[in-house]
């Protein structure tokens, strides 16, 4: 019994009535006390949950921003969605935190490296402690998987904050390490299943924005997390054909699996469809992060008609086909 288990033991033992069978030995009592019945992630799916009415979306003056550095929203009791504050990084990526009976999956680590500037590690530890307190678990017994959706700095910058965390595995920052982390041998077609302990996460390759990107499907909430290859904003498509193939894979998946929400990593668009320019730190009328399957299908239908590089608005997202370096949406407002 390690120190954290020992400290947590009495409280847990008082809270959970023990059955006679489990009291056959002291050790048995201890393990029964710290490991109550596992959470059932398989029945009553999709688990209901909710997104906030409005996320923290920056402020007109960054140095006067009083929002927390990381906004933590519990989608449901076993799923948290984290978002970096716009005044800490303009990228303000969203990062889901999925809890299972054996391990926890953190997808994406934001765009600030140093813990003294932006303490992601502390917030994640707090979320895990919170969940364990609610579910009578020992935080030390849960393994944390620190992964990221794709190989871009605004999605893995804080990964080093987890380097010294016990019982933690984190993804390496090369394509081979990323693919190897999930045990894939046939990227991007192969779909693997990650078992968080009764909660399956389906993972497959989704290149197009960059070469090394994954899509994640949580079988419990049925949220399809599409990273930066499809999100409410400017989907910078660096490689058209791989992106189109990835879209096809997403559509095929939606044809065969129930999907409650499609969710990307950023929001760069207002509720009225107005584009928030790259780098802006205040999005007062921000659109929600979640999208519907129909919106994904509409984007794919439009993508089928696209043959030229350029910027195409699907009604939900901007498809920026190979335009990153040369074209943007914004205009000089003072032109006369």
């Amino acid at each position: 019994m390690d120190r954290r288990t020992f400290l947590g033991y009495n409280a847990a033992a008082a809270a959970i009535p023990l059955s006679g069978a489990a009291l056959s030995s002291i050790a048995g009592a201890a393990s029964a006390a710290v490991r109550p019945a596992p959470v059932d992630f398989k029945s009553n799916v999709p688990a209901t949950g909710s997104f906030p009415e409005k996320w923290d979306c920056g402020s007109s003056s960054c140095m006067d921003n009083k929002d927390p550095p990381v906004q933590v929203h519990w989608y449901n009791p076993h799923t948290a969605i984290l978002r970096q504050n716009k005044a800490y990084s303009y990228e303000a990526p969203f990062a889901p935190l999925y809890f299972g009976n054996d391990r926890v999956l953190l997808l994406d680590e934001g765009f600030t490296q140093l813990r003294n500037e932006w303490d992601l590690r502390g917030v994640v530890d707090e979320c895990i402690d919170d969940w364990c307190r609610r579910n009578g678990r020992d935080p030390a017994s849960l393994e944390l998987l620190v992964a990221f959706s794709h190989l871009h700095g605004d999605h893995y910058m804080a990964v080093n904050q987890f380097a010294d965390r016990p019982n933690t595995r984190y993804m390496g920052q090369t394509h081979e390490e990323m693919v190897g982390f999930w045990g894939m041998t046939n990227f991007p077609e192969e779909r693997v299943t990650l078992d968080l302990g009764g909660r399956d996460i389906l993972i497959w390759g989704s290149p197009g924005h960059v070469r090394s990107e994954f899509a994640f499907y949580d079988s419990y909430t049925q949220i399809l997390y599409t990273g930066d290859m499809f999100y409410r904003g400017r989907c910078y498509i660096s490689f058209w054909q791989p992106w189109f193939d990835s879209m096809k894979r997403l559509i095929d998946f939606c044809d065969t699996h129930p999907v409650a929400h499609v969710m990307g990593c950023h929001v760069e668009i207002s509720k009225s469809g107005e584009d928030y320019p790259y780098g802006v730190t205040w999005q007062p009328d921000e659109a929600p992060v979640e999208m519907t399957v129909q919106q994904l299908r509409d984007a794919f239908a439009m993508a089928k008609t696209i043959t030229e590089p350029g910027i195409y608005f699907t009604g939900t997202v901007f498809l920026c086909n190979q335009t990153r370096g040369t074209t943007t949406i914004d205009r000089n407002p003072y032109r006369y």
């Binding site: 140095m63 600030t112 320019p277 780098g279 000089n332 006369y336």
Partner: protein, 359 residues
């Protein structure tokens, strides 16, 4: 003990009895220009102390500090919200904190014997976030105390009334006593400067009392753009018409004409520096910060030499009539393209240096 030593020592020298109240000009550390400043102001002036704004060449002064450049995490920035640099005793340069607003505009405060002029007002209207008015009030109060005045009329003028990076602070001065706000609508503004019929030709004047600031119409980035010339420091304040950064040309014909006008003006006047409204460039040639950046540790200096007008004019003619951007070592021209436009074209003969990226 102390009393006895005071009694035996000589009385302190009287300032007025000295031969040179402002310092002996023969001494090497008192160069001629220094004599024109009020470096020896009486502690308790009896009446208004007038200053002689006539000087040979540019009045001495110094932008001795580097600009505060924001921080990686803007939310935790604790720098002053308004950075004040005193160029000389009658000239102040104010800058908005980069973490309050990424444009970090410069604002200039010029004193004369009968008035004070504030050029531009910053990008933030909220006085709690950007206390421009309290800062300007404090500077004026201290200046008035030193020069023996109870009040001094303030004029607030803008290099462009429609530029939201420079006109937002104007509301802070609404209702301020002894204050004239130059009206923003173009027609009214022209009449205010006496340019109603000659615009965009001719020049207007703002008389601060022995320091007459000239107003030169310079539309091009804004249709109501003006530049200001200070004959005391020999500065040309060009707002966002010409500054070390990303110049968004709004009408290329007007832009070229305005630069021609400035070139002719500079030929007839002594200009030490051109001071613009912002800095976007880095200290390596041709590299610049994109929009919305709250951390600019590699900023170029603010001041530009007047010779850059010729260069700007040459390349403004080149981009005229074309939708393109064009990189030069000290500025970048954007004509008819998005402010986020990028280009793979690098100017010939300019070293292509990549500054280190911070993390």
């Amino acid at each position: 003990m102390a009393q006895s030593s005071t009694a035996t020592s000589a009385p302190p020298p009287s300032a007025s009895a000295r031969t040179y109240p402002n310092g002996n000009p023969e001494l090497s550390y008192n160069p001629p220009g220094i004599r024109n400043t009020d470096s020896a102001i009486p502690l308790h002036p009896k009446g208004p102390r007038l200053h002689n704004y006539a000087s040979d060449g540019p009045a001495p002064g110094d932008l001795a500090f580097r600009w505060i450049f924001g921080s990686n995490v803007a939310a935790t920035n604790r720098d002053p919200r308004v950075q004040v640099v005193q160029y000389n005793e009658d000239t102040f340069v104010l800058r908005e904190n980069v973490c309050v607003h990424w444009e970090a505009p410069f604002t200039y405060l010029l004193f004369g014997n009968k008035g004070v002029l504030l050029i531009d007002t910053g990008a933030t209207s909220d006085m709690k976030h950007y206390p421009l008015r309290p800062m300007v009030d404090a500077i004026i109060t201290r200046w008035c105390q030193a020069r023996g005045r109870s009040k001094l009329p303030l004029t607030v003028a803008l290099t462009s009334g429609e530029d939201i990076a420079q006109n937002q602070g104007l509301v802070q001065f609404a209702g301020r006593p002894d204050t004239t706000l130059v009206p923003a609508p173009l027609e009214v503004m022209k009449r205010f400067y006496g340019l109603g019929t000659s615009w965009p030709g001719g020049t207007g004047k703002i008389d601060l009392g022995d320091r007459v600031i000239e107003v030169i119409p310079t539309p091009g980035t804004h249709k109501d753009g003006v530049s200001f010339y200070d004959p005391y420091c020999d500065f040309l304040f060009t707002g966002d018409l010409l500054f070390p950064g990303k110049i968004n040309i709004s009408n290329d014909g007007d832009f070229v004409t305005s630069l021609e006008r400035l070139k002719a003006y500079v030929a007839g006047h002594s200009v030490k520096w051109i001071l613009g409204g912002h800095i976007d460039m880095m200290f390596v040639p041709g590299k610049y910060y994109r929009r919305f950046v709250n951390y600019k540790p590699y900023e170029r200096v603010l001041e530009m030499i007047p010779g850059l007008i010729d260069e700007a004019l040459t390349y403004a003619r080149e981009v005229k009539g074309k939708d393109m951007m064009l990189i030069r070592p000290d500025f970048v021209l954007f004509n008819g393209v998005s402010p986020d436009q990028r280009t793979p074209v690098w100017p010939a003969g300019v070293p292509n240096i990549t500054p280190p990226f911070h993390f």
